[in-house]
Symmetry: C2
DNA sequence: TCAGTGAGTCAACAAGCGTTGAGCGAATGG
DNA sequence: CCATTCGCTCAACGCTTGTTGACTCACTGA
């Protein structure tokens, strides 16, 4: 059934990956505080002490579990910007990676996660500001736009708001896109 | 200096109120899990056991601390609806009550808080849906609208996103209101 | 074959948590 | 003035948590 004989290094990397995957899943599901090392270990079929041995401390495990997907290239025109926003916040391409969900889940109750999200969103806001034609208050408008999309992501992926829960991403994007475009354009 | 002689009942109600206020502040600041009974008691200048004696259990204290402000009357026309939405999500009238902030702070990591927020938002969504002219997908549009405003509230009150942090509510409302109105109207 | 490495387990620690029951001491009311 | 109530504290409980050090034992490489 299983792979017959793997080298020690292979097995080690496999267990480490299994632990990391369990950690990501649980962090995304329950957040930092309510996820215990014991639960991660048990989900990975391993002793709690091994988790510490491989990752050092719970905080380090969390850091490893949520370390960001590579930054998207800065969009130049409004259409590309819209797509970038929708993708970054997981409204396209079948949801967000579990690590990002874990970070979002913990951002309101864990200061470290809050800092990380704040930084990421600030970068997004700067990109949107730069790509925005000379409207009044471009920074504020960009921040409001990004926050609004964040809220939709939360309602959809983290809170499971009934009408959003069942809706496919395409229908959501279909409704949002024109609104986003009208906000990034200079007209109000 | 202080009130000279208060009755026993008065003093008791005063301490109970002090405990509840401390609980609200800490729950709003740190969320359910990271707020300890000991911290609440210490902030209220009181022994932890007294908190239990007055409120029964930590969960009950939380319930008391976040019990909702009275529901707003359902708006009939689009303008009133917009105002109601902006007010409910704390974007008008100088921020949200601390109990609501506490509920929001905990909604991603505490299942009970999540349920309560989901219910409150669902009611809001139903109100918006009902008040919306016959557009396509009114429920989905309403849910997206409410989620977007929720996101703005989070970015503003809970995350403290730099460009939103300094902005007064009036400027934010000034930018949002036309967008909300254009979304609640039937045109897309 | 055999010392040695290293993956993984076991048992325990200290700290912090929610929660409890007994007790103190001042205000109360007759 | 005395017995009682009651707001409040004290000290401790049982439990869970992150974390650690010693141990086991299968596999490695010479």
């Amino acid at each position: 059934m299983s792979m017959p004989h793997r080298s020690r290094a292979e097995r080690r990397r496999a267990t480490e990956a299994r632990i990391l995957a369990s950690a990501r899943r649980l962090f995304a599901e329950k957040g930092y505080e309510r996820t215990t090392i014991r639960a991660v270990a048990s989900a990975a079929g391993v002793d709690p002490a091994l988790v510490m041995q491989y990752f050092g401390a719970k905080r380090d495990l969390f850091t490893r579990a949520v370390q960001a997907v590579p930054e998207l290239p800065t969009a130049s025109d409004a259409d590309a910007l819209t797509d970038q926003l929708l993708t970054t916040l997981g409204l396209k391409l079948g949801g967000l990676p579990e690590g990002v969900l874990a970070m979002m889940r913990s951002m309101l109750t864990d200061p470290a996660a809050a800092d990380q999200v704040r930084d990421a969103l600030t970068r997004q806001i700067e990109a949107v500001t730069a790509a925005m034609p000379a409207a009044e208050d471009p920074e504020l408008r960009a921040a409001l736009l990004v926050s609004a999309l964040l809220g939709i992501t939360i309602g959809h992926q983290l809170l499971g708001l009934p009408p959003l829960r069942g809706a496919e991403a395409d229908r959501i994007v279909g409704i949002i896109r024109p609104a986003v475009k009208s906000l990034t354009a200079s007209a109000d």
